[in-house]
Amino acid sequence: MSLHIKAQVKKVAFITLEGEVDSLSAREFQKEIERLAVEGPDELVLLVEKLEFISSAGLRVLIFAKQKMGTHLAVYIVKAPESVVETLEKTGLHHSFNIVDHYV
């Protein structure tokens, strides 16, 4: 039995969201996305375990992120509370984002 090695370096953008994203606070979220987009990340990891609320204004920022960073960009939504998952499903965004318990 031999050794198989797979190696790669990725630029990963990590964003932790805690609290509530409504139309007002979505602006801060968008600003962070714009700031990170400049660095040209390969993947976007959203840590949302403590995200208590997100309205469609927040979802728009998620879509904006893909458009800004490239639609091929893999986005991971980590530890999304049930209600957040439900909203992503109702709006079809679960097709475009990886809803996971862990990034890696």
Partner: protein
């Protein structure tokens, strides 16, 4: 029925959520339908503020009315912006939500989430005011028999 008046600006959203959340908890509404109700109200309130007042360059009030009756919680948002019936707006189809993001318009999720988030959603226009009405079944009767 209490009427609480907020300014029709985005920084009212947080207070409106807190107000409705407190009432929903008092009504014994479960966590999930409470979340869906708050989301629906947030979506419509946002539309009133941005599409109703801001886009028209006007300002105005956003009133919240809440009524708890046997087995249901009724929340009404009232505003003085131009008449707009969300239910008359072309709703996105299933196909829309299945589109890849590149081919999909960025908006159009708010009314969809609203209508799908409450047991009943109604719109009325009366006395120069839009009335967006959200009704959820609380499952529990208001007063024990």
């Amino acid at each position: 029925m209490d009427r609480i008046t907020f300014p029709g600006t985005l920084d009212s959203l947080d207070g409106i959520r807190q107000l409705v959340k407190a009432q929903a908890q008092q009504a014994g509404l479960e966590k999930k339908p409470t979340y869906q109700l708050l989301l629906a109200i947030d979506e419509i309130a946002t539309n009133i503020i941005t599409h109703g007042y801001e886009a028209a360059g006007t300002e105005g009030p956003l009133d919240v009315l809440m009524e708890l009756t046997d087995g249901q919680l009724c929340v009404t948002l009232e505003d003085e912006a131009a008449a707009f019936d969300p239910l008359k707006h072309q709703m996105p189809t299933e196909e829309f939500f299945a589109l890849p993001l590149e081919e999909r318009p960025i908006g159009g999720m708010g009314i969809h989430l609203t209508v799908n988030g409450v047991d009943e959603f109604r719109y009325e226009y009366a006395g120069n005011r839009n009335r967006n009405i959200f009704i959820v079944k609380t499952g529990a009767a208001d007063a024990p028999a």
